[in-house]
């Protein structure tokens, strides 16, 4: 499994991250295929937003092999990915690139390593709060909460748009919880317990 690592070149931090990463990879179908990467760049070429990434998908794998995981975790790349799966369906080696980026995202959260100027994980946190509280996702609450955390001015800029959606009955002001939201909470709590074992 760890044939591609070069322990003698690794710092302690790096090997800690690497071990944690492989643990994540083991939960992905055929995750070990990352070792078959040819560095052909099909993923980067297929990605509709690679030009906006600080590290392209191909470079993610390259940096990983070079033992520079921390650099990947600090990049915006894993947070910008919109999950369109274009890389995944075209990879000639069958690597599940999108799921590998998710694995890196989870690793970043576990190790609390984030890109300094890019608080996107705040949206994920708001999303999770919403599901736990209501059982469903409340769009207005989600976006508002996120913007309050990262960019309050933009909240004002979006107000007109919000109003016109509201007028059309396409935006709910108040969140509505499902009847058995306690069931959802129990499932979430139990799943978290299971995962931490």
């Amino acid at each position: 499994m760890r044939a591609n690592s070069f322990p003698e070149m690794e710092t302690t931090r790096e090997s800690e991250l690497r071990t944690a990463f492989w643990e994540q990879v083991e939960t992905i179908p055929q995750g070990e295929k990352i070792k078959n990467c040819l560095q052909c760049g099909t993923c980067t070429g297929s990605c509709p937003i690679s030009y906006m990434m600080d590290i392209t998908p191909r470079e993610v794998v390259g940096l990983f092999r070079a033992g520079r995981i921390e650099e990947i975790l600090k990049s915006r790349t894993i947070w910008i990915c919109a999950s369109c799966y274009a890389c995944r369906v075209r990879c000639p080696q069958g690597i599940l690139v999108t799921d590998l980026l998710y694995a890196l995202k989870r690793l970043a959260m576990e190790k609390q390593v984030y890109p300094s100027d890019f608080p996107v994980y705040a949206l994920s946190k708001s999303f999770i709060d919403n599901v736990y509280k209501y059982g469903r996702n409340h769009e207005l609450g989600l976006v508002a909460k996120y913007l309050v955390r990262v960019d309050p001015l933009k909240l004002l800029a979006n107000a007109t748009f919000g109003l016109s959606m509201m007028k059309r009955g396409r935006l709910a002001v108040m969140p509505k919880a499902i009847k058995k939201v306690h069931e959802v909470r129990k499932i979430i709590d139990r799943a978290k317990q299971i995962q931490s074992v």
Binding site: S83, C84, A86, I178, K179, I187, I188
Partner: protein, 294 residues
């Protein structure tokens, strides 16, 4: 023919017209949609990408509820569709995690043991109801209307089970059967950016500008979508895109089910047509929406 209906959170608010039009079209065709009682958020890509076990378990509650109804699921939102399908695939790939998911479900007195099939309304219309039935049920022809069919990402990828990944034809065939012309343009499966419109607007605006421009260049009168997130990004941000790029987009963005409903002669209001930001201009509609010669 009956399905367990899973609208998903978006279809309750911003994607309301999608919900209305799917229900109406299915009603006219005699396809039953029984809403899964007290369904919850599927967790979307967001949950799955940051906490797998919890993400799959949250999605699986809906699968368990549908399993008890003994029906296949109809999920119109591309994101819900892909998340629910991915949960099934994960359980099949790793039965041990399937057991863990069931342990989590047990906390709510539920269990998920039979794989429930998840279907998209586009798939149901074309492959179950079939085109001749849809044509038979239509009262108007969309003759002369040039449509850019937009499939987006998560219907098509990562695993497309009812069409081609790079060059899907299902929506093209459906709309052409109703008289419309499906224009050829390069972006039918290209990403709209999804949630990036909130987190990384600059990128999302650019992606949507390209989509709109390419559809316009191909001569499209309207873009037809199959996903609430694509629809909202393409429709609701046109003013901002025009400001940013100096463009002049005025493209109506409709759900494919709204176009099908119009061809069936269903009142626009019942299809949510009156709540669209950029309505299909009546001039475009009147001469083109012709009564079918019987």
């Amino acid at each position: 023919m009956e399905f367990a209906y899973y609208p998903g959170c978006s279809l309750e608010t911003a994607g309301k017209p999608y919900d209305q039009s799917v229900r109406e079209v299915f009603r006219v065709l005699g396809v039953g949609l029984r809403e899964i009682e007290d369904w919850n958020c599927c967790g979307a890509t967001m949950y799955m990408s940051i906490n797998k076990m919890v993400g799959y378990s949250v999605a699986a509650r809906n699968l368990a509820l549908a399993q008890d109804m003994g029906l296949e699921i109809c999920a119109p939102c591309n994101s819900c569709y892909t998340v629910l399908r991915k949960t099934n695939r994960h359980i099949q790939w790793d039965p041990a995690s399937g057991e863990q998911i069931n342990q989590a479900l047990a906390a709510a007195g539920l269990s998920y043991t039979k794989m429930v099939e998840i279907r998209h309304p586009l798939d149901i219309l074309v492959n179950d109801v079939k085109l001749d039935k849809v044509i038979e049920a239509s009262r108007y022809s969309l003759n002369g209307l040039k449509v850019a069919p937009y499939y987006g990402c998560q219907l098509v990828r990562p695993v497309f089970h009812f069409d081609d990944i790079e060059e899907p034809q299902t929506m093209d065939r459906l709309l052409e059967a109703l008289g419309a012309e499906a224009v050829d343009y390069p972006d039918k499966v290209r990403c709209c950016g999804g949630m990036l419109m909130t987190t990384f607007e600059e990128v999302a605006l650019r992606l949507n500008n390209e989509l709109l421009t390419h559809a316009e260049d191909a001569g499209a009168d309207v873009i037809a979508t199959a996903c609430p997130l694509c629809q909202i990004n393409l429709e609701c941000y046109q003013t901002q895109i025009n400001k940013q790029f100096g463009t002049n987009h005025k493209m109506p963005i409709l759900y494919f089910s709204q176009l099908v409903g119009l061809a069936m002669g269903i009142e626009g209001e019942k299809l949510g047509m009156d709540t669209m930001m950029t309505p299909l201009p009546p001039v475009m509609l009147t001469p083109k929406l012709e009564k079918r010669a019987v």
